[in-house]
């Protein structure tokens, strides 16, 4: 890497969610609509005492805290950036419902944008998301009441994106499990500061925090010397995406798919279920990656982040369309037009009741942080919806991510193939996921949030 990234920003300038994966077991994600600039300022000002930066908190872990994101409509109302607003990337200006974004997200059928947020409000009405974190249930109630009171006092309207008009609240699962029964959040970008002379790393902090574009090909924007770029500096984008998961359908799929595994590989049915569950994810449910633990989950590999696919080019261990291999291809080659493969900071958590009983909504509250919504988040989504980015998918080029792909998309092959020494295991992948809503937010710097509060920007 022959470039100078410049000085690393002090983490106290950044919102904490960007640079650290909170381990607070309780969180609630609250949606708001601003009636005007003064109300937005009053609301944000009231939240400042609990706004958490990325500064090291040492041994004094906050019992309750919050972070703030603004949609483009929210930035437009809360600031006086005027004509400089058009310096923001189009993907942020137009939001996830736009034609161009939907060319990557493919939210079809029940997932379509017209169905988002339980139809309680139009996506364009969403201006602000406040992410509240707490160490226990009592603290969670306190921080949620603090935020709700701030909104009421400022005249800011809280919006509810669920059919029963409840808030998006983190479900309590042990061991970082998600609704499908896998451990999640094992691998995230390093977020180190880039070093001149070292190879490019898509996981360094300059790829995610705005204002340090010298060494990143993803061009986080807005760039240049203008009011929008100054406002956005030290911020980060967040693709907030609530995804309902059909857990009963997933378990039924495993039952059915396991029959083929039993026939071909001669495994007991229970073992075959877990084998296929691992093959579609690329990790066993305990977290062990298949390239390191191909035959069974292993406690010794359950937390391993550093592994490559160099010795598994054909996908005999980890199938080439397994979720973790598509969403993060690591050392696998990608075409020059797709290079380099982007990374995302994932800060999601499960919501809804555990279990299989029908009628309850359950899934993932996804927070996908990036410096360029299109060149990082939407690119990964495009790759999941159609596997085209590497010659390992030749000649088909129309398979999908085994877990996430939009199956109703025209022209795709919904068959998942796991190669084994005894032959191929093939299964047709159902649609496990339904998008409940998506918002593209800017998580401004601490200074820019303070400027909004004082109407200085």
């Amino acid at each position: 890497m022959d470039c100078d990234p410049g000085p690393e920003p002090a983490r106290s300038k950044l919102q904490g969610l960007i640079v650290r994966g909170y381990t607070h077991p309780h969180s609630t994600h609250m949606l708001f609509r601003f009636p005007g600039r003064a109300a937005a300022a009053a609301f944000v000002k009231a939240l400042l005492p609990r706004l958490q930066s990325g500064a090291d908190w040492g041994a004094a872990k906050p019992a309750l805290m919050l972070n703030i994101g603004l949609t483009f409509a929210g930035v437009k109302i809360a600031t006086a950036l005027g004509s400089d607003l058009n310096r923001f990337p189009m993907v942020f200006q137009k939001g996830p419902t736009s034609k161009w974004s939907q060319q990557t997200l493919y939210d079809l059928g029940d997932s379509a944008p017209e169905n988002w947020w339980a139809k309680n409000f139009a996506p364009g009405e969403l201006h602000c998301i406040v992410h509240a974190y707490a160490l226990d249930e009592t603290a969670e109630k306190e921080i949620v009441a603090f935020i709700a009171d701030a909104a009421t006092s400022a005249g800011v309207e809280e919006l509810f994106g669920t059919a029963d008009k409840s808030r998006f609240t983190q479900a309590q699962f042990k061991d970082d499990l998600i609704q499908f029964g896998y451990r999640d959040g094992i691998s995230n970008p390093s977020l180190q500061w880039p070093t001149s002379g070292k190879p490019f790393d898509a996981g360094t902090l300059d790829n995610f925090v705005l204002g340090y574009p010298a060494c990143t090909p993803f061009s986080p924007g807005p760039a240049g010397d203008n009011a929008a770029a100054r406002f956005a500096k030290d911020g980060c984008y967040n693709a907030f995406r609530v995804i309902s998961q059909d857990v009963a359908g997933f378990e039924t799929f495993l039952d059915e798919a396991a029959k083929g595994v039993v026939t071909t590989l001669g495994m007991p049915a229970a073992e075959a279920r877990e084998w296929i569950a691992a093959k579609i994810m690329g990790r066993w449910r305990n977290g062990s990656p298949l390239v390191l633990s191909p035959d069974a989950p292993d406690d010794a590999t359950r937390d391993v982040k550093a592994f490559v696919y160099a010795d598994d080019k054909a996908g005999l261990r980890c199938p080439i369309s397994a979720h973790i291999r598509v969403s993060n291809p690591r050392d696998q080659s990608v075409f020059p037009a797709n290079f380099p493969a982007p990374r995302l900071i994932r800060r999601g958590m499960p919501y809804g009741p555990p279990g299989l009983e029908p009628g309850a909504d359950r899934g993932l509250i996804g927070l996908f942080l990036c410096g360029a919504l299109d060149r990082q988040f939407e690119t990964v989504y495009a790759w999941m919806n159609q596997n085209t980015f590497s010659d390992v998918f030749s000649p088909k080029f129309n398979t999908q991510d085994a877990v996430v792909g939009a199956r109703a998309r025209v022209g795709v092959d919904t068959q998942f193939v796991a190669q084994t020494a005894k032959g191929e295991i093939r299964c047709t992948m159902p649609q496990f996921l339904t998008t409940r809503g998506t918002a593209y937010c800017l998580m401004p710097s601490i200074a820019s949030i303070e400027a909004i509060a004082e109407q200085r920007v």
Partner: protein
């Protein structure tokens, strides 16, 4: 499933702009073919001079392409291809309404393209992508 890009750009009527538009259309394929080939997603691309109603001179440039996947995923690559970058900037330079913001970086390059893209319904006779077609022929 392929997607269309239909850039419609009314152009300035002065002599230099009119000549630049004519030259851009004449050299279009020569300028962009290396980058489009390398992208592996573009089925075809054409740059059309739309004549003025009275038949004298050019009213607008119309750049029409059909491509696989999502354009946004590839705009960074196109921005980095000299021939494509010059072709798009050439169109912007003669636009009757100058790009706002001016094209100085990838985001403004993208903003210009998206701002002049018309809605279009696309008929497709075959489902194959460029990569699939090339793989079958190789």
């Amino acid at each position: 499933m392929a997607n269309p890009l239909s850039m419609y750009v009314p152009i300035k009527q002065d002599k230099d702009s009119q000549k630049a538009a004519t030259d851009a259309a004449k050299d279009f394929v020569k300028n962009v073919e290396d980058g489009l080939n390398a992208s592996g997603i573009v089925h075809y691309a054409k740059l059309v001079l739309i004549p003025n109603a009275d038949g004298d001179g050019t009213q607008a440039l119309f750049l029409s392409t059909v491509f696989d996947e999502s354009m946004r995923e590839y705009l960074r690559f196109f921005w980095e291809q000299p021939g494509i970058n010059i072709a798009i900037q050439g169109i912007a330079a003669v636009a009757a309404t100058a790009p706002d913001p001016p094209i100085t970086d990838l985001d403004s390059f993208q903003s210009f393209i998206e701002s002049v893209d018309l809605e279009a319904d696309l008929y497709q006779a075959y489902p194959d992508t460029v990569k699939q077609i090339k793989a079958k022929k190789s």
